[in-house]
């Protein structure tokens, strides 16, 4: 079972709430995904309006919310969004997202680290979205983040595991859970990172913009579960060629 900041999760698939064609589709997809943690952009929550459809659907599902700071371009803005989230949604959990780059929406490592330090000090459970940079992940861990969320590819790109080799290093080194966020486009890719030993994945675009989001959510759930079980069962080693006889050292056996 996965544990982040003393909270246990039986599903290792986290999902999102954006990009769906309706609040009802979102709700059905989240249910099908069996996800227990969904992220929600604070900038999409309308203040003072009771009838926020997304929020009331999520409320009905009794699901853990992971508000995010999307739209923030600096540590200062992210801290502001996090405080707003804690006040509005009554949770100290925050997905820290700071991407000033408007083209590929890549996270700013400097501002992310600064904001993480501040938010941890203020008692938040911080899950930072970050580049697949092993040293940055260590620094975020040292800052007190509850998990790290390195990207597999630019967010929303569905391009799969472009950062695979670096994710390997991050998974190997981390002592907090590693949640692979962003860029996963197919169930097979989610399964592949779970086989690598990732603790969880966050998938949104690949589900929300699929032709049949509800079915796709269920398929991602299966893939994540299978990947994890394969990891736990201990994958057999793979190599490019079959094991050859030993032409180089045969002479040692010759008398």
């Amino acid at each position: 079972m996965l544990t982040i900041a003393n909270k246990s999760f039986s599903s290792r698939l986290f999902t999102g709430t954006g990009k769906f064609r309706s609040a009802q589709t979102m709700s059905a997809a989240i249910q099908a995904s069996k996800s227990e943690l969904v992220t929600l952009a604070m900038k999409r929550v309308e203040h003072g309006r009771k009838a926020d459809e997304t929020l009331s659907e999520l409320d009905r599902l009794h699901i853990n919310l992971l508000p995010n700071t999307s739209g923030a371009v600096s540590a200062k803005e992210a801290v502001y969004a996090a405080r707003l989230a804690r006040a509005a949604l009554d949770t100290p959990w925050i997905k820290l997202e700071i991407h000033p780059d408007q083209r590929y929406l890549l996270p700013d490592p400097v501002e992310t680290l600064l904001a993480a330090e501040q938010l941890v000090k203020e008692g938040f459970v911080v899950l930072p979205y970050c580049s697949a940079d092993p040293v940055l992940c260590r620094r975020l861990e040292e800052a007190g983040c509850a998990a790290v969320m390195p990207l597999a590819a630019p967010i929303g790109s569905n391009r799969g595991l472009l950062t695979k080799d670096f994710l390997h290093i991050i998974i190997e080194q981390a002592s907090v859970p590693v949640v692979i966020d962003a860029g996963i486009g197919k169930p097979s890719e989610a399964m592949a990172v779970m086989e690598m030993g990732a603790d969880a994945v966050l998938v949104n675009t690949a589900i929300a913009t699929a032709h049949d989001p509800v079915n796709m959510a269920a398929l991602f759930a299966q893939a994540v579960s299978t990947g994890r079980r394969a990891y736990e069962a201990g994958l057999a080693h793979s190599r490019l060629s079959s094991s050859a006889s030993s032409p180089l050292t045969r002479f040692l056996n010759e008398t």
């Binding site: 954006g18 990009k19 769906f20 064609r21 309706s22 609040a23 604070m42 900038k43 999409r44 929550v45 309308e46 309006r49 739209g71 923030a72 371009v73 803005e77 502001y80 969004a81 707003l84 000033p100 780059d101 408007q102 083209r103 929303g156 790109s157 569905n158 675009t205 929300a208 913009t209």
Partner: protein, 371 residues
């Protein structure tokens, strides 16, 4: 180098000829490019691409859904004034037009805000007219903070200002600025803009750079389609958007496609034929294929039927129930309009239509403390 300098080095006639020379092979190459370039855009916007419009639309839909999801964002224009210190031959607000002039008082601005808020709108495009003295920074210092207390996201369409003024507007609560070049053909620009500060083509061309330097969240670009050859003007818009995005990477870019609409006193023979509806679809898709990140806006200038069909193909932001005269939401008074809108459906009716297209509506997409 400033983006404006780069644009002045692009040769209008050369680009026109390149567009005219594109053939079906060029279009096919553009459609299969993994990272389309400006040259691909020239093919996509050329007459040779018209038979490929269905393929273009399909690509455009895929790119838009991947980036923006199954959603459409709503905004509404709020006209603060119809005063103008420019003579522009195609505009209902032009200074020589004998129309009733009006600038909203802070109380009237508040009434408008209340009326707009009632429709469920949380993102407003503030349109100011172009009168530096009477509708300038002193006035904005009064009304922008007032509007920001109502709406989370404020966009402004205002006469070109200095970088310093843009920085101050940002402080006051403005998130995005739109300045349309109208036409990128310098000589023809002179035909249409005959008196006032707006006659300065180069200063206007440099405006997006100044907005970028002031680090506004969003920079809006566009040409008024019908002032010059729309394909070439659109190529300049595309080039402008790419270059602005590259240099001012913290800012988002939005593009609009206004086609000239009838207005009071408009009879300028220099106005050319803008794109047909089919060509407008081609243009929207071409922009989307070149620039999957750009926000594309479609206003109520277009008809309801056209909007119903085109919005799902690549548009990300729409207005609804727009009034183009100051005070139009709280106290509708005719004869002050900048131009006639075509699609007059209410916000609620428009939202129903969007849902019918299998898309969700977004009214809130910003926190007031950002930017």
């Amino acid at each position: 180098m400033r983006v404006a300098d780069y644009l002045t080095h692009l040769d209008w006639d050369d680009i026109s000829m390149q567009i005219a020379a594109k053939n079906a092979v060029d279009v096919r190459c553009a459609l299969s490019a993994t990272q389309p370039t400006l040259d691909d855009f020239l093919a996509l916007v050329s007459p040779a691409a018209e038979p490929f419009i269905e393929t273009m639309a399909q690509q455009s839909v895929q790119l838009t859904r991947a980036r923006f999801g199954n959603t459409i964002s709503f905004f509404i224009p709020l006209y603060l004034s119809n005063l103008c210190a420019n003579e522009c031959t195609y505009c209902g607000f032009t200074m020589s037009n004998r129309i009733k002039r009006k600038t909203l008082s802070p109380d009237e601005v508040a009434s408008e805000a209340v009326a707009i808020k009632k429709m469920g709108i949380n993102s407003v495009l503030v349109v100011t007219g172009e009168h530096e003295k009477k509708v300038g920074m002193a006035y904005f210092r009064q009304v922008i903070p007032l509007l920001k207390s109502f709406f989370d996201y404020l966009t402004m369409e205002v006469q070109p200002l200095s970088t310093l003024d843009y920085a101050e507007l940002k402080q006051l609560g403005v998130d995005a600025i739109l300045v349309y070049q109208e036409t990128y053909h310098a000589r023809r620009y002179g035909l249409f803009h005959q008196r006032g500060n707006k006659t300065d083509f180069d200063y206007r061309l440099d405006t997006a750079d100044r907005i970028g330097q002031a680090q506004l969240d969003k920079i809006g670009l566009g040409a008024l389609l019908g002032l010059s050859d729309w394909r070439t003007d659109s190529a300049f818009v595309a080039a402008h958007a790419l270059a602005i995005q590259k240099k001012y990477w913290r800012s988002r870019v939005s593009i609009a496609f206004p086609r000239i609409q009838p207005c009071t006193g408009q009879n300028d023979p220099n106005i050319t034929r803008g794109p047909s509806e089919k060509q407008l679809v081609q243009l929207i898709c071409a922009h989307r294929i070149l620039n999957p990140q750009a926000e594309l806006t479609l206003s109520t200038r277009e008809s309801a039927h056209f909007r119903n069909n085109v919005i799902p193909l690549g548009i990300t932001h729409i207005s609804a129930a727009s009034q183009t005269q100051p005070g139009g939401y709280s106290n509708a008074e005719e004869n002050l309009k900048q131009f006639e809108t075509d699609d007059s459906r209410s916000v609620a009716a428009m939202a129903t239509q969007i849902h019918r297209s299998g898309l969700d509506t977004v009214f809130t997409d910003w926190l007031p403390g950002f930017s």
